[in-house]
C-alpha cells in the first residue's frame, strides 16, 4: 500500500513539473546523455548558464533510444515549451516530420538543417576549428605525419577530417595525413578498443599527433596516444584534462553558446540557418594549464593569425559537406 502511495505521489509530482514547464524553453539531449563530457554536456552548460543568469527554468529530457525522439518533441510542444532546442543531427528527420504540426512553437536544431518556417538550424563551421588544430598538429609533429580517427563514416565527420588535413598542409605542404574511420554503423561511436588499435596502426605508419572526432571511441584514441608517446587532440568540449601534458589541444565546438543564445531569444528565435564559425567564436581550439607547455607562443601566434584571416575572409576552408569532396585528403 505504501509503495502504491509513493507511486501515486511520484506521478503527481511528474504531472506538476510538466505543468510548470509552460512557456519555458526546453532542451532535448541526444543519446550520449547530458554528462557525456562532450557535445551534450556542452549544451547542458549553455542551458544552465541561461538559468543562472536569468533565474528562469527550463524543461529537459535525456533520450534513451532513437524511438523517443518524435515522442519527446511532441510532448514538449504540446506542453507549451518554447523554444525547443535539440542537440544532435539525428533530430533532423523527426523534426522535419512534426514541425508543421506546431506552427506557433519555435524549434532550434543544432548540427543539422531543417527547412521549415518555425525552425532555426544552427550549424558549426567545424572545418575552421579543425583547420586550426590541424595547423597545431603539423607544427607539433616531429615525424612529418599526423593522423585522424573518425567515428562513424558520415559527411559531418569527413568535414572534420578535411579541415584538419587542410590546416596541416597549410603549415607543411609535404606533411602526410592519415585518416581512418572506425566504422559505418552507430556502434562506431562506442568502440574504444578499435580506436586504440587504429591509433597504434597510425603510429606504426609514422604518425605522432592524432586528432579524434569519434565520441566514446575517442577515449580509446586519446588513451593510446598517451600510452605510446603520441599527442592526442580532443574534440567538441575541452578534453585537455583527460591526459594532462599529452593532449596537444582540443577542437572546441561551442554548443553552449548556441543553446544560450536560443534560450535568451526565447520565442523570438529567428528561423533560418545560422552558421557559427571562428568569427562568431562558435569553433576554436582550447588552451589551458594542461597543454600550456605543448603549445609554444610562436605556434599560438601562427594559429591566431590564421584565425583572424578566417574571420575577415582572407582564408576560406573547404567545407566537405558543400560538395562531398576534399581537396586535401582522399578517403
Amino acid at each position: 500500500m505504501t509503495l502504491f502511495t509513493k507511486f501515486l505521489g511520484a506521478t503527481a509530482a511528474l504531472a506538476l513539473s510538466a505543468g510548470a514547464a509552460l512557456a519555458d524553453p526546453a532542451i532535448i539531449f541526444d543519446l550520449g546523455g547530458k554528462f557525456d563530457k562532450s557535445f551534450n554536456e556542452s549544451a547542458f552548460n549553455g542551458a544552465n548558464r541561461w538559468a543562472e543568469e536569468t533565474g528562469g527554468k527550463f524543461a529537459e529530457v535525456e533520450l534513451q533510444s532513437d524511438a523517443q525522439r518524435e515522442q519527446a518533441l511532441r510532448r514538449f510542444a504540446e506542453s507549451g515549451a518554447n523554444p525547443i532546442v535539440m542537440a544532435g543531427f539525428s533530430f533532423a528527420t523527426p523534426l522535419g516530420d512534426i514541425a508543421a504540426d506546431y506552427p506557433d512553437t519555435k524549434f532550434v536544431i543544432i548540427d543539422a538543417v531543417v527547412d521549415a518556417p518555425n525552425v532555426k538550424s544552427v550549424v558549426f563551421n567545424e572545418e575552421q576549428g579543425s583547420y586550426l588544430v590541424g595547423m597545431l598538429a603539423a607544427m607539433a609533429s616531429k615525424t612529418g605525419t599526423v593522423s585522424f580517427v573518425g567515428g562513424m563514416d558520415i559527411p559531418l565527420i569527413r568535414k572534420f577530417a578535411c579541415g584538419y588535413a587542410e590546416g596541416a598542409k597549410a603549415v607543411n605542404p609535404d606533411i602526410n595525413v592519415i585518416a581512418n574511420m572506425t566504422g559505418t554503423t552507430p556502434a562506431a561511436w562506442n568502440d574504444p578498443v578499435k580506436g586504440t588499435e587504429l591509433t597504434l596502426a597510425q603510429k606504426s605508419q609514422g604518425s605522432d599527433v592524432v586528432f579524434q572526432a569519434a565520441g566514446g571511441t575517442g577515449v580509446g584514441v586519446l588513451q593510446a596516444a598517451a600510452d605510446n608517446e603520441m599527442l592526442g587532440i580532443g574534440v567538441d568540449a575541452n578534453q585537455n584534462y583527460m591526459h594532462p601534458g599529452q593532449i596537444l589541444t582540443s577542437m572546441l565546438k561551442r554548443v553552449d553558446i548556441a543553446v544560450y543564445d536560443a534560450f535568451i531569444a526565447g520565442d523570438a528565435v529567428e528561423p533560418g540557418v545560422a552558421s557559427l564559425g571562428v568569427a562568431e567564436d562558435g569553433v576554436g581550439y582550447a588552451m589551458d594549464e594542461n597543454n600550456k607547455d605543448l603549445v609554444t607562443a610562436e605556434m599560438q601566434a601562427k594559429v591566431e593569425e590564421a584565425k583572424a584571416s578566417m574571420a575577415d575572409g582572407s582564408i576560406t576552408v573547404h567545407d566537405y559537406m558543400s560538395d562531398e569532396s576534399c581537396p586535401a585528403l582522399t578517403f
Binding site: G33, V193, V219, G220
Partner: protein
C-alpha cells in the same frame, strides 16, 4: 611488406583476438553442454564495467578482475536459472541479459561516477600493464627470432597469456577428463547421462558457470588491459563475433583459437588500408574486410567448407520423462 610491419599487424591481431578467444571458449563450454548463450556480449559488458569500477575504487586490478568475473557469474546464474531450472527459452534469456547489461552498466556508472556512463581513467596498478618476457631485450638484436620474440610474443598483458593457456586446458578438460566427457554427452543426449545417474542440471550449471568465468576474463581484458576504463557499449558486438567464431570452429577448442585469430587478423587488416593497397596494388573497401568474418561464417554454415554440426541437444531444455 617488411617483417616489422607484419609483426605489428600480428601484434594487433593478438590484442584484438584475445577477447574473442575468451568469449568463444566461454560459448564453447556452454553450448557443448546444450545451453545456447547469446548473452556473451552482455556478460562481457557487465564484467568490463564492474572490473573497471572496482579497479578504480580499490586501485587494485586483481580485485577488479575478481569483481568482473563476479558480475559475469551473476548474469550466468540468471541465464542458468531461467534456461535450466525453469526451462525457459535460452535465446530469449540471452537477449534479456544483453539488454540488461547494456542498460544497467550505464545507469550504475552514471550514479557512481557521474561521468556520463563512463568510469574514470585507470592508471598504474589499477590496470593490467604489458609484461616484458625474460630475455626480450637482450634477444632483440638477434635476426628474425629477436624481433618476433620482442614485438609479437613479449609485451602483452598477462590476460593474453592466460587466454592462450586456456585453449589447451579446455581441450584437455573436454576430451580427457570424465567431467568433459559427461559435459559433451549432456549436450548431445542428456537422457543418456541422466540414465547413467549423473545430474544433468548440475553439469549444465557447471558449464554455464565456466562460461561466466571466461566471459568475465574477456570483459576485464577489454576494460582494464586494452583500455583504461569502461565506456558505454564498449564490447561493440564482440560477443556476437565470438559466436560466429564458435560456429566457424565447429565447437572445438583448438579451431576456436584459429578461428578467433583469423577474425582478429581480418579486423587488424581492416585497420591498415594502406598496407592492403601497397601489397595488392588496389584498394579494398574496409567495410568488406569488416564483413568478412560473417561472410565466412555463412559460407561454413551453408556447408561449403565441411559441415558445422551443433551439439544435438543444444537449445532444448531437458525434461525428465514423467
Amino acid at each position: 611488406m617488411d617483417l616489422l610491419t607484419l609483426l605489428q599487424l600480428l601484434d594487433s591481431t593478438v590484442r584484438l583476438a584475445t577477447p574473442l578467444l575468451l568469449a568463444c571458449l566461454a560459448g564453447l563450454f556452454s553450448e557443448r553442454a546444450g545451453i545456447f548463450d547469446i548473452g556473451l556480449e552482455g556478460k562481457m559488458l557487465a564484467a568490463a564495467f564492474l572490473s573497471a569500477a572496482i579497479a578504480y575504487t580499490t586501485g587494485n586490478v586483481w580485485l577488479g578482475l575478481l569483481a568482473g568475473i563476479g558480475a559475469s557469474l551473476l548474469l550466468s546464474a540468471i541465464h542458468g536459472v531461467a534456461s535450466i531450472t525453469f526451462r525457459g527459452n535460452q535465446l530469449i534469456s540471452g537477449v534479456a541479459i544483453n539488454f540488461l547489461a547494456a542498460g544497467l552498466t550505464v545507469v550504475i556508472a552514471q550514479s557512481w561516477f557521474g561521468q556520463g556512463g563512463r568510469t574514470p581513467q585507470l592508471a598504474g596498478a589499477a590496470r593490467f600493464n604489458p609484461i616484458t618476457l625474460p630475455f626480450a631485450d637482450s634477444l632483440r638484436e638477434v635476426p628474425v627470432i629477436g624481433p618476433i620474440y620482442y614485438e609479437l610474443i613479449s609485451g602483452h598483458t598477462i590476460l593474453v597469456y592466460v587466454a592462450l593457456l586456456i585453449v589447451p586446458l579446455s581441450w584437455w578438460v573436454l576430451y580427457s577428463t570424465r567431467f568433459g566427457l559427461r559435459l559433451r554427452a549432456v549436450g548431445e543426449n542428456p537422457a543418456a547421462v541422466d540414465t547413467a545417474g549423473v545430474s544433468v542440471v548440475g553439469l549444465r550449471f557447471a558449464a554455464v558457470m565456466i562460461c561466466g568465468v571466461l566471459c568475465g576474463l574477456a570483459g576485464a581484458y577489454l576494460a582494464t588491459a586494452l583500455q583504461a576504463g569502461f565506456t558505454k557499449d564498449m564490447s561493440a558486438g564482440r560477443g556476437y563475433i565470438a559466436l560466429a567464431a564458435l560456429i566457424f570452429a565447429k565447437w572445438k577448442p583448438w579451431p576456436c583459437l584459429w578461428a578467433t585469430m583469423l577474425f582478429g587478423f581480418l579486423q587488424a587488416l581492416a585497420l591498415r588500408p594502406d598496407l592492403i593497397e601497397r601489397t595488392l596494388g588496389f584498394n579494398v573497401q574496409t567495410q568488406l574486410l569488416d564483413a568478412l568474418p560473417y561472410i565466412l561464417t555463412v559460407v561454413i554454415l551453408a556447408g561449403f567448407v565441411g559441415k558445422a554440426i551443433p551439439p544435438r541437444a543444444g537449445g532444448e531444455p531437458y525434461v525428465k520423462e514423467r
